[in-house]
Symmetry: none
Subunit: 204 residues, 2 copies
């Protein structure tokens, strides 16, 4: 190998990995903004300033690119586990104070994209299963008072959280979109807490 090639070698992988990252970032942006159906490989390639063939080369089909784009930055179970020691009376505040900043982060964009596309498609069962099997099963029993209400309490919490996702990130309603994460938490926290531990006469 020539000295010339030798010098270039360390640079090549780094350049390639930058490009890969850039493609993924553009894909996240476009999927989050336009959803899965209306985002083409061609559009992602254009945004990243590369040939569509390179996008295919790195990520395969659009579905595979999407799968890569939504890779959850944090394991949901880790979040749930991190609240194991939070008293139930504080969960209404704790939950959004952990989750909203995550959604606000760049990594959170993948989740928004997923939710959007799943909401429209036939794979809506993925979110349902996530909410019913993961969230309600883990947190429900902790707020199961009166007996049998745990699951539904958590579902009302989920409904408000999903509503914030839609209003803040998908519809981008102003001023909800520009509030700080803390302002969102302060505003919805007491309502989530009521769902978790308040009197819900309608459900008994």
């Amino acid at each position: 190998m020539s000295a010339e090639a030798e010098r270039k070698r360390p640079g090549r992988p780094r350049g390639a990995s930058d490009t890969r990252e850039r493609i993924l970032k553009c894909a996240r942006d476009l999927f989050a903004r336009n959803g899965l159906d209306k985002t083409s490989i061609r559009a992602v390639a254009a945004a990243a300033g590369v040939d569509p063939a390179l996008v295919h080369h790195y990520y395969g089909t659009k579905q595979q690119l999407f799968a890569a784009a939504i890779e959850a930055p944090v394991n949901p179970m880790e979040i749930i586990r991190s609240m194991q020691d939070t008293p139930v009376e504080e969960l209404g505040h704790k939950l959004p104070s952990v989750i909203v900043p995550l959604w606000d982060s760049e990594a959170g964009q993948g989740f928004i994209a997923t939710l959007r596309s799943l909401l429209a498609g036939s794979e809506v069962g993925l979110i349902r299963s996530f909410l019913q099997d993961v969230i309600a099963t883990e947190i429900g029993p902790r707020v199961d008072n009166p007996p049998g209400t745990g699951r539904i309490r958590v579902q009302f919490v989920a409904s408000q959280l999903v509503g914030i996702v839609v209003a803040r990130y998908i519809l981008e309603l102003e001023p909800i979109r520009s509030l700080s994460a803390e302002q969102i938490v302060e505003t919805i926290g007491p309502n989530l807490q009521r769902y978790l531990t308040g009197e819900l006469p309608g459900l008994v």
Copy 2:
């Protein structure tokens, strides 16, 4: 009538219904892009290549055209008008008690379907306009305390209502899906009321 005309007849109504559909599609595009306030009947007519009088003939007022565009089972302005005499302190309960049964009705299904596809696509501006131009503009001033909070109070209300649409009709979470409309109203009503007239220290 000649055999010729006889054969053509079944085609004529189809032509009219094509025009109707084209007008509605153009209206959707324009409402989504420019919002309700900045879209005129004249602009919709121009985009569809028809006379404004024809748009009025098919769809009535701009508000009614908008209602058709979002497949609302009832003109939203009529719902809002029906709450004009409801004291602000009762709106949190009144609002869902009017809206949830509508969503539950067969006519509501078209609206849910539209919402679903709008959430996923690039025409998300249609819902944004509905919430910002119609709901926040009409109800916001009634709950504007402290000054400047009216719009955002209504947006938090909207976030919870949208969350119910997602949980109950799109994700079909059980048991939220099987609750009666009254149970939904009893459960979310106090939370909506807090958004409308409660202390929201995070926002001041």
